[in-house]
Amino acid sequence: MEKDTTTQAPITPDITDSAERPTGDPDFLQAALDPGRTGPVQSGEEHRVKIETRDLRIFYGDFEAIKGVDVTLRDREITALIGPSGCGKSTFLRSLNRMNDEIAGTRTEGQVLLDGESILAPGTDLVSLRRRVGMVFQHPNPFPMSIYNNVVYGPRLQARLSRTEADEIVERSLRGAALWDEVKDDLHKSALDLSGGQQQRLCIARTLAVGPEVLLMDEPCSALDPTATFRIEELMIELKEHLAIVIVTHNMYQASRVSDRTGFFLLGELVEFDLTTKIFEDPEDERTDAYVRGRFG
């Protein structure tokens, strides 16, 4: 299910360490070093609560994949979920837009509140939920159609768009996903001709096009090279100005680079959840400590 990444080496909490940084693209290096960009949330700073889970339990048949998770995810922050393969972090993520419903034999108990309202209640409108809580997957999955049609796919599910409306959505979404400049002359070419990193940004653009409030990202960079990964991370930091981002990652450098808060999952339990700096520098739980230092997993 989840592939191992090669980056589970002992972690250096110093996020300005440039060893991981891609080379050869001065713009991105510049952007990375630019002190004006949005920094991580500091201790005591609290954004509005966006999603809250209470005693969330998820079962695959008889197997309890998530064993009672209480967590608060905040607006305009990036929350990283880390943990070894099979610990349930993807399952947890997929419960936030009810993608687990698509897997036969899954059962969810407890509460998931989006802006204080339950999304597990019977009669919840999955269409509007998934438009509010968008998702980007591990493997870039653009539809086998043009770039343009990929972006307007979501909006067109709901309404007939005039040519100008559609054009406007395409440009705004592609700009939002930092892809516009690269593809603006090729909008009607197949999305499958893009590189992996571009495809993933297209998937982000496609999701932005329906105007989500929350963006779920399930290991969005694990199939990408370091440069493409870095662009996505830059993009995430831009996007968190407008929405809440929850990212599952195997790459602890990534978690420490981009996220404001980090949750550590182990065997279906949320072992520890705190500010990212705290998790990586001074975790409370010794299992967290062992994991972020690369002693297991």
Binding site: M99, E102, V127, R131, M135, H139, N141, F143, G154, L157
Partner: protein, 280 residues
């Protein structure tokens, strides 16, 4: 460590040679049959054979075309619809297993049984009479299992990631099927459909009691409920009952029928090749 009995490179040569021989053996019958028919029927194989006003095959070719066209029209929506239900909507369970088993068994029913069933249901009970519509309905039943399993296979080939991507954008299940799954499964579905039709074109038993005549005063059908003449039945009667047909003509007729079926198969291959050029 003991040495291998055979050097891997020698093994490779042996494997290649054996598989090559298997290929020859497999393709020999097709080439052989076509060649032999051509050899025996060549002298009768001319424009006269097809177009002769009294005894030409044209009416039978037209009749078969009508028959398989109508069969496709009936079998496609039923078969593709059933496949969509089975692969996209049906929940796994005993009921689904029974339905699948029924479809598999349907594919194993001898074609003469379909013919008798068509006679009972369409010709007699529903009162169609022995006609184009009754024959097409019977043939549609015959190819339905093929169309269903080919379509299901094509739907299964669509990566789960595409479905999830669509659902995650707020698409309903049907929107996902309609806009992402079906368009991309179309090459496979079309291929299955054409191959099924090719099979139907050559079948004799199902149309024996339901549609076909050997000779008609007015051989071209004017309505769905008209009697028709059709290639396989023509050949069957020619070969078994009709007096005074020269042997070359029988062989030539057989050749035309096989050529028709192979032609349809060729179309299927071309369609598949054209539509498969996309990637995920």
């Amino acid at each position: 460590m003991r040495r291998r009995w055979l050097d891997p490179r020698v093994q490779e040569h042996i494997a290649f040679a054996s598989l090559w021989i298997v290929m020859i053996v497999v393709s020999l019958p097709v080439v052989g049959i076509m060649g032999y028919m051509l050899y025996r029927g060549a002298s009768a194989l001319d424009w006269q054979l097809i177009a002769d006003a009294e005894e030409g095959l044209l009416p039978a070719i037209v009749g078969t075309t009508w028959l398989v066209g109508l069969t496709a029209l009936i079998a496609a929506p039923l078969g593709v619809g059933a496949a969509i239900y089975l692969s996209e909507y049906a929940r796994p369970g005993p009921l689904l297993r029974i339905i699948r088993l029924a479809i598999i068994n349907l594919a194993g029913v001898p074609s003469v049984v379909y013919g008798l069933f068509g006679l009972a249901l369409f010709v007699i009970m529903l009162g169609f009479g022995r006609c184009l519509a009754a024959g097409a309905c019977t043939l549609a039943l015959l190819v339905l299992p093929l169309v269903i399993s080919a379509s299901e296979e094509a739907l299964r080939q669509i990566p789960a990631g595409l479905r999830e991507g669509s659902l995650a954008l707020g698409a309903s299940k049907w929107q996902t099927i309609r806009r992402v799954v079906l368009p991309n499964a179309l090459p496979g579905i079309m291929t299955g459909l054409i191959l099924s039709i090719a099979r139907a074109a050559g079948e004799t038993a199902p149309i024996l009691f339901t549609a076909a005549f050997y000779w008609l005063r007015d051989p071209y059908p004017n309505s769905l409920f008209d009697e028709i003449v059709a290639m396989p039945y023509q050949l069957y009667v020619m070969a078994s009952e009709a007096p005074g047909v020269p042997i070359e003509k029988k062989w030539a007729t057989a050749f035309v029928l096989v050529a028709l079926v192979l032609g349809l198969n060729l179309v299927a291959i071309v369609v598949r090749a054209r539509l498969r050029r996309r990637r995920w």
